[in-house]
């Protein structure tokens, strides 16, 4: 799926054959990724280890004599000796089994200067591979501030390899670290890893253990991890995140919309009228715009998540959520993917890599798309707006209810899967709770950039291709104008003024509807319509549902095209048009019962091909993607059916 994904045996292509390959490894929360960002800046790409689902990043830098450096950011690990995928990936990278069979020229072990022993213990394991090592004594400034004095020279002497004090937050020591890559040397760590690490660590450190920052962390944790106050703060933090997303994303989303609308208009004015112009302006530019419009929300969400992660709060949130998720068979680590899923299910499914345990990881992947992503918003806005036209308060409640319904469906689906096909004990949770600290905005920005580019590449290409295919299917074959239209036009020619305009408008609408019915998409809609009839959908809504099978955000535009033949009217016009749209029998197309049924359907239905592709890749096979599609579609159909039938029975149709 990834544009930068490599294939087994022909791995990551290195444009600099003489580049020094340096692997960056360390415990979680040692500032490893911040250090990577410092060294490589934005000059990096995200890829996958050949044949695995584990993501890694490759960065570029310049070393001594301007020699290029290829920096590989490995996943954070405590040990290489477990069967967990992170440890396996690190082992493979160090042994040269991955990355084209070429082991790194140097391994940079990032050690938290405030907790040297734990980092050195990992170094002892790495040393056994005989790899040349450089130690980055990161957060050196923080250690100094806390009164932990670590003498880098003495550790270097003991290890026989360069040991460079660094601060990824300020950038101090980074040039020296880059220069030291050339002097990497193997380390001899004999005997028990802990004993060795303690001996080396204690010989180069003053024993005065500080407690000031720890005391602050402890005081904060007393509030933030308390079952009552912690949950309250969690709710406030999450509320603030969503409020920020919806408040701040509105303006850039409108801007993106306006830019693409103008671009589309410009393309159709520059190119000669015809199919190519329509494909470019409606299919390609419209398709790109339909994807890019959600980018502001995704950018804001990932920026906030990165900042929260930087403060150390996210680990606490995962622990808090563990209480809520465990009864449903999910661990607290599922919280981050579920939070991400509110922006887009694609990065959410990808971030399931952080969930330990196969069954729990698969369960999280399978339920993540239930959480309401930003692509569902246009559908929610349309239908709640139709249902509660003059009651914005009730519309907002219905809107929020969609999110709640999605979350409930996710949790109970997880419970169902964990009790059936994904049965088995979950891995008990053990998580490092880093000290609270000020987050690095720079690092958060770079991570956000990385995520945004990944989203654009992965979703953009697929959605654009789908839009082109859909546009074609919704355009051809062209139908001859029916006799009624010819007659209406003839009548219009015989009168003048407003009556003529009204007749022409009527003829246009009739012709557009007829043309829509005749296209491949229209025919498909009418063929499949009996399946959706119990849900209250006529052929036009069926076309909208089918058209949005690949990407749910196209539902509104597809429906507006089918209903009125043109989607270039203003939003308000679209809403009015859909409100007054009629079925072939003359009844209202979107009755309350049908609108509720559609709303429930879109909350629960999969309707996103790119997510299915990512699920197939991340879960390790298309059978999981098919299960996800099948279960979500079944649940959506069943719930929409019950909703429609119940409301019809109570006379709301």
């Amino acid at each position: 799926m990834s544009a930068t994904q490599t294939t087994p045996g022909t791995p990551h292509r290195d444009p600099h054959p003489a580049a020094r390959r340096v692997a960056l490894i360390g415990n979680p929360n040692t500032g490893k990724t911040s250090l990577f960002n410092r060294v490589a800046g934005a000059r990096h790409q995200t890829a996958n280890f050949p044949g695995t689902t584990q993501e890694y990043r490759v960065g570029r830098a310049r070393g001594e004599h301007d020699r290029p450096i290829e920096l590989i950011d490995l996943p954070g690990v405590y040990t290489l000796e477990t069967g967990q995928s992170e440890a396996r990936v690190c082992r493979d990278a160090l042994e040269g089994n991955a990355l084209g069979g070429r082991p790194p020229d140097a391994v940079c072990v990032v050690v938290d200067a405030t907790r040297v022993t734990r980092g050195l213990r990992l170094l002892a394991e790495i040393a056994k591979s005989g790899a040349p090592v450089v130690v980055a004594l990161n957060m050196h400034d923080l250690a100094h501030k806390r009164g932990v004095v670590v003498r880098a020279e003495e550790i270097a002497e003991e290890l026989g390899c360069p040991v460079v004090p660094t601060s990824a937050r300020t950038g101090a020591g980074v040039p020296a670290l880059i220069a030291a890559f050339a002097d990497a040397a193997p380390v001899n760590a004999e005997g028990d890893a802990w004993a060795w690490a303690e001996r080396v660590g204690s010989s180069a450190r003053d024993a005065a253990a500080p407690a000031s920052s720890h005391a602050m962390t402890e005081r904060l944790d007393r509030v933030l991890m308390h079952p009552v106050s912690g949950t309250l703060v969690f709710a406030i933090v999450m509320g603030a995140i969503f409020w920020t997303i919806f408040k701040l994303a509105g303006v850039p989303m409108d801007l993106v919309d306006a830019v693409f609308a103008r671009l589309s208009g410009w393309a159709s004015s520059v190119l000669p009228a015809g199919a190519v112009s329509e494909l470019l302006s409606e299919g390609i530019i419209g398709g790109v715009g339909a994807t890019v419009i959600f980018l502001p929300q995704i950018v804001i969400l990932f920026f906030l998540i990165s900042l929260l992660e930087g403060t150390g709060y996210l680990a606490r949130a995962a622990l808090l959520m563990d209480r809520l998720f465990r009864p449903f068979g999910l661990p607290g680590q599922s919280f981050v993917p579920m939070l991400s899923a509110h922006a887009c299910a694609i990065p959410a499914v990808m971030s399931c890599r952080g969930v330990p345990g196969r069954q729990e990881r698969l369960a999280t992947i399978l339920v993540a798309p239930f959480l309401s992503c930003s692509a569902r918003i246009p559908v929610y806005v349309l239908l709640t707006g139709l249902l509660f036209a003059d009651r914005p308060g009730l519309a907002a409640v219905a809107f929020a209810g969609c999110y709640v319904l999605g979350a409930i469906a996710a949790l109970f689906t997880a419970l169902l899967f964990r009790r059936t096909i994904l049965r088995g004990p979950g891995r008990p949770m053990a998580i490092d709770l880093p000290d609270y600290r000020r987050p690095s905005v720079r690092s958060a920005l770079l991570t956000t950039y990385d995520r945004a580019m990944s989203f654009l590449k992965k979703a953009g290409t697929v959605i654009v291709a789908m839009m082109v295919v859909l546009w074609w299917a919704g355009e051809y074959p062209h139908a001859e104008p029916p006799a009624e239209v010819v007659e209406l036009r003839a009548q219009a020619a015989s009168v003048e003024g407003e009556p003529a305009e009204a007749l022409i408008a009527e003829a246009d609408e009739f012709e557009a509807r007829h043309a829509g019915r005749s296209t491949f998409l229209g025919r498909a809609g009418r063929t499949v319509q009996p399946v959706f009839a119990p849900l209250g959908y006529d052929w036009q809504i069926t076309v909208g549902v089918l058209g949005s099978f690949a990407a749910r955000e196209v539902f509104v535009s597809t429906l507006s095209v089918v209903v009125a033949g043109s989607d270039d009217a203003e939003d308000e016009g679209v809403l009015d048009r859909l409100r007054t749209a009629r079925r072939d029998d003359g009844s209202v197309m979107l009755s309350p019962a049908t609108s509720w049924s559609l709303l429930v359907f879109y909350v629960l239905a999969m309707q996103c091909l790119p997510t299915l592709a990512v699920t197939a890749r991340e879960a390790g096979g298309w059978k999981w993607a098919m299960l996800q599609l099948g279960w979500m579609s079944l649940l959506a159909y069943g719930a929409a059916l019950v909703t429609h039938q119940a409301l019809t029975a109570t006379g709301m149709a």
Binding site: Y78, T117, R118, W194, R205, S213, M225, L319, L433
Partner: protein
Amino acid sequence: MPTAAPAQTKTPGETSLASLRRGETGVVVAVRARDDDVVMLESMGLRPNAWVRVCRTGRTCVVAADEPGGCPCRLGIERRLAECVFVSAGGV
């Protein structure tokens, strides 16, 4: 899934980390769980001879594990895992 039943494997003078109350300290004597969990807990800092202090009890415990000369690490671990970590209570 921890495989060891704490009550059966506890030796005299030992108590499980889960049975300590908030603020109590101990020294880790052994971790008796599934191999992978033992490796994970030990590599995170809950290794034999490590000094630990319980910061929060409940379904998930928060413990501070000693780092000689450095800042202690804080670990959040599930109770069933804490039941597999055996300590001699009151150690310094």
